[in-house]
């Protein structure tokens, strides 16, 4: 059989900096994506997300857990209260453990459930299969990006309130001697970032390498890249990979505001009009919750189990931006770091910029970050950048932090599967997009799609990009 990639490698693109790029070699063991599972503001699973994206539906709504009108934006991208019953997503024997799952963990466990089903993978979670699983446990890895999980406010405050001074401050002495007894002994285990991967690896019996990357909005793509490397070096044949986070909590919204990522909106505004990716009139984003887990498999191993193989993870790149303000509240103006990550990923995939059919960017609707991304895309794709379709998803997801890249990658997979591009909403007028990218509003349409680039950039300046390719 003709190896598609080997053929393409003969026509390596000439890159501007061959000194840097000659090092980045393709992997011998090829990695395919055989399953996707998402959780987003419109529900659990790709079906609800894809329907929303195709029909141009927004995920923004008034927050149902807290009144956020004390902040500049009262809206969030949050699942409806009845959209996630975690007990439906874990095997019966594991239901008790759902008591120690923070919101981020629930969202991850549900996403993993969806991904494993989508891949047709039989894992330990299928109790009826009686141990007849698709993959040996030691060949299953798990890399799930996470944020710093916010403590559930009511649970902690009822305990704090028991140890307050007369003027309403925390009494540390009373807290140490008795107050802390009011929180559950396992309290901390709800909030360790690695508990997303920990629960998922227990449920699906992943005994291979397991990691938790915590690089803000770059976490999921960095995790997907790391899973690709783990499979590449034969430390596992299959990885549950991606990222999940909920920023829909008080501290999450506050930090969005403090890092200048929160839009300005009032209660009377239409929530669906607030996030406006690459639109010159944008004022910012909003807190979101969700993310995605993808099933990554070594090609031959996936073939051997009869998996449906449609998409290859062909390239990965990562980089660090120069942050003028050190912590990266302001994005890198020239987008050099983002461009470097994309170029590295393209190079590994053996794909010329001219052959990229669509891009799923971060596109969070924060003017400075959108401008930085647009500059990076222009750097990589040149004038053609105004013609490459951009798939903007933050209108549905909000900023779900470590989860964002996972959703973006899953949407790219779905585009390749369906040969369809979703609608783009709130994009503004044709020809007026930030940085001259293809950012105007447009309806869903059919498209011939073979290669899609996905990229994210984080507060703190970490960037990651992947190249996905359709396998027919």
């Amino acid at each position: 059989m003709m190896d598609v990639r080997q053929n393409e490698l003969k026509h390596q693109p000439s890159l501007r900096n061959s000194v840097t790029m000659r090092h980045f070699m393709p992997q011998k063991r090829r990695v395919v994506i055989t399953g996707i599972g998402t959780t987003s503001a419109v529900g659990v699973g790709m079906k609800s997300l894809w329907n929303a994206l195709i029909s141009g539906q927004s995920g923004a709504k008034l927050c149902h857990t807290f009144d956020l009108s004390g902040f500049s934006c009262p809206f969030v991208a949050q699942l409806a209260a009845d959209q996630l019953d975690i007990k439906q997503f874990v095997p019966k024997s594991y239901r008790k453990a759902t008591k120690v799952m923070a919101r981020d963990i629930e969202l991850a466990v549900a996403a993993a459930h969806e991904a494993v089903n989508d891949a047709g993978l039989i894992t330990k979670s299928h109790e009826a299969a009686d141990g007849k699983v698709s993959m040996p446990a030691t060949q299953m890895g798990c890399q799930i990006g996470a944020g710093s999980i916010a403590a559930e406010e009511n649970e902690l405050t009822v305990a704090f309130a028991s140890s307050q001074t007369a003027d309403g401050e925390i009494d540390l002495g009373a807290w140490g001697s008795s107050g802390m007894q009011n929180i559950t002994p396992l309290w901390m285990l709800k909030y360790l970032p690695n508990m997303l991967a920990s629960h998922v690896s227990i449920i699906h019996d992943c005994q291979g390498p397991s990691n938790t990357i915590t690089c803000g909005e770059a976490s999921a793509l960095l995790s997907i890249g790391e899973s690709m490397r783990v499979i590449g070096r034969a430390a596992a044949d299959c990885c549950l990979s991606g990222g999940v986070e909920s920023k829909v909590n008080l501290m999450g919204v506050l930090r969005q505001l403090y890092s200048k990522r929160l839009a300005t909106a009032s209660l009377s505004d239409d929530p669906s009009s607030i996030i406006r990716p690459f639109n010159p009139s944008a004022t910012g984003g909003m807190a979101g919750e969700g993310g995605a887990i993808l099933v990554l498999e070594e090609l031959e191993s996936a073939r051997a189990r009869g998996a449906k193989i449609q998409v290859e993870l062909a390239g990965f790149g990562a980089s660090q931006s120069f942050c003028q303000d050190t912590v990266g509240i302001g994005a890198e103006v020239d987008g050099a770091g983002i461009a470097q990550a994309i170029e590295t990923a393209l190079h590994e995939a053996g794909v010329k910029p001219a052959d990229v059919d669509a891009i799923v960017p971060f596109g969070c609707g924060v003017p400075g970050i959108d401008a930085s991304e647009a500059a990076a895309l222009r750097k990589v794709f040149g004038e053609r950048v105004s013609k490459i379709p951009l798939v903007t998803i933050s209108t549905v997801t909000g900023n779900c932090g470590a989860g964002f890249g996972g959703v973006a990658a899953s949407v790219a997979v779905q585009c390749l599967r369906e040969q369809k591009l979703p609608a783009r909403i709130q994009g503004g007028k044709a020809g007026e997009s930030v940085g001259g990218v293809d950012g105007a509003s447009i309806g869903a349409r059919d498209a011939v799609l073979n290669t899609i680039v996905v990229t994210t950039t984080s507060l703190g300046g970490q960037n990651a990009a992947i190249v996905l390719r359709r396998i027919s």
């Binding site: 840097t20 090092h23 070699m25 009144d67 956020l68 004390g70 453990a97 030691t138 710093s148 406010e153 009511n154 902690l156 009822v158 704090f160 309130a161 309403g168 401050e169 925390i170 540390l172 002495g173 140490g176 802390m180 559950t184 002994p185 396992l186 309290w187 901390m188 285990l189 360790l192 970032p193 690695n194 920990s198 227990i202 019996d205 992943c206 005994q207 390498p209 397991s210 990691n211 990357i213 915590t214 690089c215 803000g216 960095l222 490397r229 590449g232 506050l254 930090r255 403090y258 990562a318 980089s319 660090q320 120069f322 050190t326 912590v327 990266g328 470097q340 507060l459 300046g461 970490q462």
Partner: protein, 441 residues
């Protein structure tokens, strides 16, 4: 083409025992303890009121080119900057910086930042609605906006140490931070090593930094009953592998190393301090509260690392010794860890296990949580360089069920070529590194 060899060309640390490589090593050789009553906050009434804190003579600004750039830096990144500067300079990059910053990467196991506890708790209390038993969002917003500082909040994000190090040292290559509890920095070094082997970078700055010596950190571990609640002299509290061990003692700080592709290091005339030859990673996939009792995950990580290093755990060298000369134990001093780690080492090495010295420097500098693996990895390199093994302090009442050679109480002279460093995290992450003396062939 064989994969490139990876060497360590610089290292540095900031710990309760000091912040120079040699100074801390001397104190480890003397079996000294960094433990004392907690000074970071009023901990007197907490079940555990002592820890191994970095002492006030550490000032991160003295390690920086331009302290103004890092004016808002929180404690984790301060420790990281101090440790990284030592490593960077030892590698010689202060006088001859790397030619292409895009070929320099970062992979850290850095912890989440320290909560601004009094203001955090105060804002929540002020917004508490006793009738609904809920926090009122509008009242909280008002209080939080008044009390919680923007930079203090942002600096708590776990990737902020990356941002500070990248800025200070001009790093533009791939950058990641992992947070797999107590295994994080071992995993970070392992992944950084893997990235150089694959060609994703020529140089990686790697390691960890963490402090959990703050009210909610101590609360969380106290509630889990993971911390020692020893009454008496804090320097006697950490007792790994002892019958009377009752939990770990928190430490804080950072360990940082420069990993480099061998060819790259030699071409620029750098001195390899040691070579990394194996990395193994596994998950228990058992329970979030307990370690798999047979040490299945720990043994899998050790075995994977040895396999990559082409070391047969059953073999002996020409000197009749096992091929691993020293194990830097995870050795937390909890009942569960020490017995299961001992079991796992026996599962892997069989009869040879008793002939491999294995000690825990946590008995002296406490548990640096995410940063623990990095300082323990550095200890292995120093053991190779000095031909000395650090002891397990306070090893006065051996647990009869734990029958390995824990290097009790006194540092030991020992020719060391090859070591392993183990780290195991809450949630079941297990990571092992194999490091060996650098030899030219």
């Amino acid at each position: 083409m064989s994969e490139p060899r990876v060497v360590v060309t610089g290292m540095g640390w900031v710990t309760s025992l000091g912040h120079t490589v040699d100074g801390v090593w001397k104190r480890l050789m003397n079996s000294e303890s960094g433990m004392a009553p907690i000074t970071h906050f009023k901990a007197a009434t907490f079940p555990t009121s002592f820890a191994a804190e970095v002492k006030p003579d550490f000032d991160y600004r003295t390690f920086l080119n331009d302290p103004k750039v890092h004016a808002t830096t929180a404690l984790n990144a301060q420790f990281a900057l101090g440790a990284a500067r030592q490593a960077w300079n030892q590698a010689g990059f202060h006088t001859h910086p790397p030619k292409d910053p895009r070929r320099v990467g970062l992979y850290l196991g850095a912890g989440e930042g320290v909560l601004d506890f009094d203001n955090y708790a105060g804002a929540l209390i002020s917004a508490w609605d006793a009738t609904t038993q809920k926090v009122d969002g509008v009242r909280w917003a008002k209080a939080a906006l008044a009390r919680l500082d923007a930079f203090k909040e942002i600096e708590q994000e776990p990737n902020m140490s990356l941002a500070h190090l990248a800025r200070e040292f001009g790093i533009r290559g791939p950058a990641s931070n992992c947070l797999t509890a107590c295994a994080a920095s071992t995993q970070a070094i392992g992944e950084a090593f893997s990235m150089i082997r694959r060609g994703d970078a020529d140089i990686m700055m790697s390691g960890g930094t963490h402090t959990m010596i703050h009210p909610l950190g101590v609360t969380g571990f106290n509630r889990l009953t993971a911390l020692s609640t020893f009454k008496g002299d804090p320097t006697l509290a950490s007792r790994p592998f002892c019958m009377s061990r009752d939990g770990f003692v928190m430490g804080e700080g950072s360990g940082m190393v420069i990993l480099e592709k061998l060819e790259h290091a030699l071409a620029r005339g750098a001195t390899p301090l040691a070579e990394v030859i194996g990395y193994g990673s596994s998950a228990d996939a058992f329970r979030i509260t307990d370690i798999q009792p047979e040490g299945r995950g720990a043994a899998a990580a050790i075995n994977a690392a040895l396999q990559q290093a082409h070391i047969d755990p059953a073999a002996v060298g020409p000197d009749g010794r096992p091929l691993i000369h020293y194990i830097s134990a995870h050795g937390t001093g909890t009942k569960e860890n020490d017995s299961i780690e001992t079991r796992a080492v026996k599962v892997v090495f069989g009869e040879r296990a008793k002939h491999i010295p294995m000690s825990s420097i946590k008995s002296m500098m406490g548990h640096l949580i995410a940063a623990a693996g990095a300082v323990e990895f550095m200890t292995c390199i120093l053991a190779i360089q000095h031909g000395m093994l650090p002891p397990t302090r306070n090893h006065h009442d051996p647990d009869p069920a734990l029958d390995l050679d824990y290097v009790p109480n006194v540092a030991r002279k020992c020719a060391v070529d090859t070591c392993i460093s183990n780290s195991f995290g809450f949630g079941g992450q297990n990571d092992t590194l194999v490091v060996t003396r650098y030899k030219t062939s």
